[in-house]
């Protein structure tokens, strides 16, 4: 038996023993997600047990180094991990922006002390992070951030406003792009700062979205204090960290909820759950979607393999983000169509299908719009003049 087979066997046995039956339903809906954080209320004992069991093994962040709360899995082992989790349809034990976004940025740019301080609580689901990037005047033109940090010696005094801060009202900490030099060119005066949100200078206000829920917030900084040691990377070079993090955010969004890695059920099978027999047109659309999903999933794999082989995938994340999110929107259109009038009720027979459908419309906006992604490809890959 190869090492990988041994790992698979061991993992399968561990999963069999530790994954509660209730957690074996895929958990793809918003309600099925465990976000963690100081104020997190577990929806069931099973959800708590599953998180704790995984955290103890480092399986909430399987590829992170063991010393920072991960399991130190190789790329091949990670594939096996994903396959075995998919095989029993296990829910992800923990999802968070700490895992998807801040973690990779800290692993790359953070000091050893910062990694030890911030990563393990993310892995255990104890601290929930949110992302302070966009501002009312900085959407697609993200580097135009105006939130200002005034140098006060041992800390920055921060004033300004962020918007589209996902789950800011539920988060404990925020990583934010803050202008720390107003004189420098716009990309050269931004710092990447970590801010404790429990202080009085940070307030959040949820924004009600078309999906009926309020996952996004406005976040206001009024004389908020951020100690100097809370900077990631170098002062005024936060744009480098921001861009690096964005590539991870884009990969996360591109694969998000679409079951693109091959483990997920076929779209046609999902549709057939609500429609006894797919009509010819819906079926044809579903087939096209399925073909594209399989090919994009393979591309996700290929780029990971290339990255591991040291063949840089360059601006691949922009491409995957564009293709993945446009596909996800189509898939949810089909889900709505297959659901017919049952899908038109909030919390109707199909649960929150309409809410999920509406939510996907943000996929091609958040983390860089489809148009921004195409412009990145056009400039950096095709070399077309700006």
């Amino acid at each position: 038996m190869s090492d990988l087979d041994a790992f698979r066997a061991e993992l399968a046995a561990w999963l069999e023993e530790n994954c509660p039956q209730e957690m074996r339903d895929g958990g793809l809906t918003e309600d099925g997600i465990c976000w963690g954080g100081k104020d997190w209320v577990f929806t069931s004992d099973a959800q708590r047990d599953w998180l704790n069991a995984c955290a103890a093994k480092g399986y909430t962040v399987p590829t992170w180094p063991v010393e920072y709360g991960g399991a130190g899995l190789s790329r091949d082992q990670e594939k096996v991990f994903t396959e075995e989790m998919g095989r029993i349809n296990a829910r992800s034990p923990l999802q968070s922006f700490g895992i998807w976004m801040l973690g990779p940025a800290l692993l790359h740019f953070g000091s050893h002390e910062q990694k030890l301080q911030y990563l393990p609580p993310i892995a255990r689901g104890e601290v929930r992070w949110c992302q302070g990037y966009s501002e009312p005047g900085a959407g697609s033109d993200l580097a135009n951030v105006q939130t200002h940090g005034e140098d006060k010696g041992d800390h920055w005094l921060v004033n300004g406003q962020k918007i589209w801060t996902s789950y800011a009202d539920k988060a404990d900490w925020i990583f934010a792009l803050v202008r720390t030099d107003r004189e420098a060119p716009k990309h050269k005066g931004i710092s990447f700062l970590l801010c404790d949100m429990t202080q009085t200078g940070v307030e959040t206000r949820p924004i009600k979205m078309i999906s009926g829920i309020s996952p996004f917030c406005e976040t206001f900084f009024t004389n908020a204090v951020i100690p100097k040691e809370n900077i990631v990377g170098t002062e005024n070079r936060g744009w480098d960290v921001a861009k690096y993090l964005l590539t991870h955010e884009r990969e996360m969004i591109s694969g998000g909820g679409a079951g693109l890695s091959g483990g997920g059920r076929a779209l046609g099978a999902v549709l057939a759950d609500t429609m006894d027999e797919l009509d010819a047109v819906t079926r044809a659309d579903a087939m096209r979607c399925e073909i594209d999903a399989l090919a994009i999933g393979l591309t996700l794999e290929r780029y990971k393999d290339q990255a591991e082989a040291g063949q840089g995938a360059g601006d691949a994340s922009a491409m995957l983000k564009y293709m993945g999110t446009e596909l996800n929107k189509q898939r949810h259109e089909l889900m709505m169509s297959a659901g017919g009038s049952d899908a038109l009720e909030w919390d109707g027979p199909l649960g929150n299908r309409a809410g999920d459908w509406l939510r996907t419309k943000a996929n091609s906006i958040e983390g860089g719009t489809s148009e921004v992604m195409l412009s990145i490809v056009s400039r950096r890959v095709l070399g077309l003049p700006a």
């Binding site: 087939m287 794999e301 095709l382």
Partner: protein, 371 residues
């Protein structure tokens, strides 16, 4: 399975193929052949054989280079970029794969003749306007110790000039594959005047006699030998079409950087930038499906059906987009015969139909995915 990364050997093979084809088979060469009504270049095929391409799937003990399906795809992909004309798919991929399913002296001899470039093949399979092997009606009736073939085939790619034909026929209890010389009595070949200016024929079989020796594999069991051959052909054709897409795309992006209107390069216009970027994304995604199909055929052929259909479906769709966008972004000049883009468009349409169109492969995938 091996990783979805080009190996060093594959990269070298691609570079070598590119170098050779740029010299021996650039698009200008194709144009020359088209202008002369020539659909086969014996000299070019001989050179390809000498480089081991004709024997890419022929075992070494039969004189082949036996490089595998992924390698065959690499070669086909490079051929697609400059529309190189050769019997590579029909002979080196499809016929060789069929023949190597059979382990007898006759098959080994046939494989040796493929590897050396002596014999070319065509697969006579379609009878209607769409690819439908299971619906084969051409009849091979048992008579004495042999068979008598009667019926018609169409869209026999490379069929007008091939030395030998692989003919799929209906027998008493199933389908049987025959390997016969193309000049056997009763075989009438009518060259089809194809839009892609390549060799294809309509072939009539009238009381064509075949012996048991001519049967490839077992009687009534054609699919045992033909299925892997078709899969290999589909994958390599998909690879060729992806090369074609890349070729059309490169021409188009080159034009965007060069052509000036309103005093600037048209590549500065966001409307065109985004269309070109989208096309690149599609080509890139399809390239993953091609790489995956080659890996699956080499390493897990029994489970490669979905990978192959995915590759062919995606390649068909992507090539269509690449040539439509290619012509549109070139504007009027893209519509002229003097410009090469039209060649890409016509080849993409023929490739779309051969060995199963988009719908055919989408249906296969839907079945395999359980809906």
């Amino acid at each position: 399975m091996s990783k979805l990364v080009m190996t060093e050997e594959e990269t070298m093979l691609a570079d070598m193929a590119r170098g050779f084809l740029d010299g021996a088979a650039p698009v200008s060469k194709f144009r020359e052949m088209r202008d002369n009504g020539q659909t086969h270049d014996a000299g070019l095929w001989k050179e390809m054989a000498e480089m081991g391409w004709a024997g890419v799937l022929v075992p070494e003990d039969a004189g082949g280079s036996d490089m595998g399906f992924a390698a065959a795809n690499v070669i086909a992909q490079e051929m697609g970029k400059t529309l190189a004309v050769s019997p590579f798919l029909s002979t080196a991929v499809i016929a060789a794969t069929a023949l190597r399913q059979v382990s007898d002296a006759r098959a080994k001899d046939a494989l040796a003749r493929i590897a050396s470039g002596e014999a070319t093949y065509a697969l006579a399979i379609d009878e209607g306007i769409k690819f439908d092997p299971e619906g084969t009606a051409l009849e091979a009736k048992a008579s004495g110790n042999g068979f008598t073939l009667n019926g018609k085939k169409q869209f026999v790619v490379d069929g007008a000039l091939a030395d030998r034909l692989l003919v799929l026929a209906k027998t008493a209890d199933g389908l049987t594959l025959f390997d016969i010389p193309a000049d056997r009595a009763g075989v009438t070949r009518d060259t089809s005047n194809m839009i892609d200016a390549r060799d294809a024929a309509r072939i009539t079989f009238e009381n064509v006699e075949a012996t048991g020796e001519d049967v490839l594999g077992a009687v009534d069991s054609a699919m045992d030998v033909l299925k892997p051959a078709i899969a290999a052909g589909q994958a390599a054709l998909a690879a060729e079409m992806t090369g074609l897409s890349a070729g059309a795309f490169d021409m188009t992006v080159g034009y965007l950087k060069e052509r000036k209107q309103f005093g600037v390069e048209i590549g500065r216009f966001q409307a065109l930038q985004h269309r070109a970027a989208h096309l690149w994304c599609e080509v890139e995604v399809t390239a993953s499906a091609i790489l995956n199909a080659g890996r699956m055929l080499d390493e897990d052929p029994d489970n490669a059906a979905m990978a192959v259909s995915l590759a062919k479906a995606r390649a068909t769709d992507t090539a269509k987009l690449a040539v439509i966008e290619g012509v549109q972004m070139h504007g009027g000049i893209g519509m002229t015969d003097a410009y090469d883009m039209g060649f890409y468009m016509k080849r993409a349409r023929v490739g779309a139909e051969w060995l199963g169109d988009y719908s055919y492969h989408a249906e296969k995938i839907a079945k395999l995915r359980g809906f």
